[in-house]
């Protein structure tokens, strides 16, 4: 659905996106993550035909972004990271305008607007002024706007940035709904919990270069090479750490305030042996749990944090 081949964008001396290759299949929900200034927005804007690349090509829904921008725009819903709202306008008028801008015939607009309002939970606000909406509602209205011409591909740039936790949760629920509609999603974010459990694929970008991409499970296995064990001992935690490093199935051990994080390399299903060994060695184990590698860990491990402040 999205095919990026060697995409490059330079602003003067700065290379924002450097030879990026990425393929997104139909129905995929891709978490496009990286620190601020990594080139996420630049990539998304090039895919939305708003920015001309210096080199490389990109095809969205089978159309080239440079050669057939109209065809691409007709099939893409784009939500920018920062956006303004027109004042003195009602919610339905706002959506009607964008539907008209996408040449949706007049007779079809009321039905479509009703649908997207229902999906974004803004139905009761249909006749309210856009000004009166809260930040979270505006974000949802912007999402409704990107859906109003029924696009196949959604390019969402930081869809939940600057929202309070509740509003962020609402946006996440909405994105989950969109995944069910079998749209192809490319969601950029630097806030990871936002995308956890939502996306089936992941692409990590840093300093304009793709660090890694693929299915979430594949990458977590590839990066971690094992499971993370969380061990809690009542006392002698330093000694427990030293003991754990002597076990062949444990790769690395880190200790924070008597909580021990150990990476388990041994046979799957045999983690209990670590617990048995600890108990037999006389350690008072208070807690023992295993943790799947999450998106955040993948992100932290794969990026070097170079552009984190940029």
């Amino acid at each position: 659905m999205i095919e990026i081949r060697g995409l490059t964008k330079r602003y003067g001396d700065l290379t924002a996106v450097d030879n990026l290759w990425l393929t997104v299949e139909r129905g995929d929900a891709v978490a496009f993550i990286g620190p601020n200034g990594a080139g996420k927005t630049t990539t998304i804007r090039m895919l939305a035909t708003l920015l001309e690349p210096n080199a490389g090509t990109a095809r969205v829904a089978g159309y080239d972004v440079l050669e057939e921008p109209e065809e691409v725009r007709a099939r893409v819903g784009y939500m920018p990271d920062f956006f303004g709202m027109y004042d003195d306008m009602m919610v339905w008028e706002y959506l009607d305008f964008f539907a008209a801008a996408h040449r949706v015939p007049r007779s079809r607009r009321p039905g479509l607007i009703g649908d997207v309002l229902e999906l974004t939970d803004l139905g009761p606000r249909r006749d309210h002024s856009v000004n009166s909406l809260s930040r979270g509602m505006k974000q949802r209205l912007c999402l409704a706007k990107t859906l109003v011409h029924d696009p196949d591909v959604l390019l969402l740039d930081e869809p939940a940035s600057g929202l309070d936790p509740r509003a962020r949760m609402e946006v996440r629920e909405l994105l989950r709904e969109l995944c069910k509609l079998e749209k192809t999603l490319l969601i950029s974010s630097h806030i990871l919990p936002e995308l956890a459990g939502l996306c089936n694929k992941i692409a990590i970008i840093e300093e304009g270069e793709l660090v890694t991409s693929g299915a979430v499970e594949d990458i977590s296995a590839q990066l971690a090479g094992g499971k993370q064990l969380l061990i809690d001992v009542c006392e002698r935690s330093v000694e427990a750490c030293q003991f754990l490093t002597t076990l062949p199935a444990v790769a690395s051990v880190v200790e924070h305030d008597s909580r021990i994080e150990a990476v388990y390399h041994g046979e799957a299903g045999q983690e209990w042996q670590v617990l048995t060994a600890l108990v037999q060695a006389g350690f008072k184990v208070r807690g023992f749990a295993e943790e799947e590698i999450d998106l955040e860990t993948i992100y932290v491990r794969s990026t070097r944090g170079l552009g984190a402040d940029g």
Partner: protein, 369 residues
């Protein structure tokens, strides 16, 4: 019905009117628009009625001739005030259209839709023009009152309003052009007012300089414009018209898939330009002869501030035109005023159209990098 109109507009002109409708919704229904209209009529009628009131209060007896003079004075003030108000109100309105969207970060989303640069720029320009037409229309009853007093003919009133509408058109197009160029609306507004002041000062100064130069050369204080100035004055709109016509011809031809190539487009442009230039120049020939007979003071009429007022102005241009009517020739002054009106209309509308085309091109280029 409306849907069929949408489809027809898109099929024939490739134009999507949603930007215009959207802007009309945003701008015209708010209280500000009505307040602005009210103030406009208030200032225009005040500026027109006050001098008339003073004149009436100073007189003890009234005659038909005096009423006719009053009618002319009133219309004169009405037109001057309206030109001033148009120069004050429309540039800010036009210059804030595109730049304000850029500033408010709404333009990005607009660009991601199927709206073409033409749709956006034309849509915005049409709204500003609509506002200008509404402003002018509100004062038509005041002009009718001047007509009732006598002293001015309906033709003069019509000419004055046509020139004002054409002025509104090019001022709006200039504002939209600078709005498409500038990043911030404040910059666009300042640039538009700056350009307008520059144009007003430059045209007035150059007219005076040419006038003085002609006086020195000829040794007379009052002289005719002469063929050179007339050729320049009529020539600019002639070339501009041919150029715009050629652009239009290319646009039409490029709808034909077989002729869409780069070289075909250029060839059409050049051929159409040359053909149109010959046709329009041939039509403009007699006008050049008539204009060269006019007083050199007529040059002052290219000053946008004086143009509309000169259509009803009794003193400056008429006396110059009269004085320039050579003995033995039969060019009546009023007739010349008609020619001046048509040249100015021609000039302003071609300028407006050029600025409009430029705005769409600049917008398209700017938004792709």
């Amino acid at each position: 019905m409306v849907e069929a109109l949408d489809r027809a507009l898109h099929a024939t002109l490739g134009f999507n009117p949603c930007v215009t409708l959207h802007e009309l919704r945003l701008r015209m229904r708010v209280g500000r628009a009505f307040l602005l209209l009210f103030l406009y009529v208030l200032v225009a009628s005040g500026a027109m009625l006050l001098p008339v009131g003073f004149e009436l209060a100073a007189q003890h007896a009234y005659s038909a001739r005096m009423m006719r003079d009053l009618g002319r004075t009133a219309l004169h003030w009405l037109v001057y005030t309206q030109i001033t108000l148009i120069f004050l109100a429309l540039p800010a309105y036009a210059a804030s259209t595109i730049a304000a969207e850029r500033e408010k970060q709404t333009l990005e989303m607009l660009r991601a839709t199927l709206l073409s640069p033409w749709d956006v720029v034309t849509g915005k320009l049409l709204v500003v023009l609509a506002f200008g037409v509404v402003l002018l229309a509100t004062t038509v009853p005041l002009a009718a009152w001047c007509l009732m007093l006598g002293g001015v003919s309906p033709t003069e009133v019509l000419r004055a309003y046509l020139i004002m509408a054409a002025t509104a058109a090019w001022v709006s197009a200039l504002g939209v052009l600078l709005s498409a160029t500038c990043q911030r609306s404040l910059t666009a507004i300042v640039a538009t007012y700056g350009t307008l002041i520059g144009v007003a000062v430059a045209t007035a100064l150059s007219a005076y300089v040419i006038f003085a130069w002609m006086s020195v050369v000829s040794g007379h204080t009052r002289t005719q414009m002469g063929p050179t100035a007339a050729v320049v004055l009529v020539g600019i709109p002639v070339v501009a018209t041919a150029w715009l016509g050629a652009l239009l011809a290319r646009w039409v031809v490029q709808r034909v898939p077989a002729l869409r190539g780069r070289w075909a487009g250029r060839t059409v442009l050049v051929v159409a330009f040359l053909v149109l230039l010959v046709i329009v120049a041939a039509r403009a020939g007699p006008l050049i002869v008539k204009m060269s007979n006019a007083g050199s003071g007529t040059l002052l009429l290219v000053n946008p501030y004086l143009a509309a007022a000169s259509m009803v102005e009794e003193t400056v241009p008429r006396s110059l035109i009269d004085s320039a009517t050579p003995p033995g020739t039969t060019t009546p002054a009023r007739d010349l005023q008609g020619y001046v009106c048509s040249i100015l209309l021609w000039l302003y509308l071609t300028v407006a159209a050029t600025l409009w085309v430029l705005a769409a091109n600049i917008y398209a280029r700017r938004e792709r990098t």
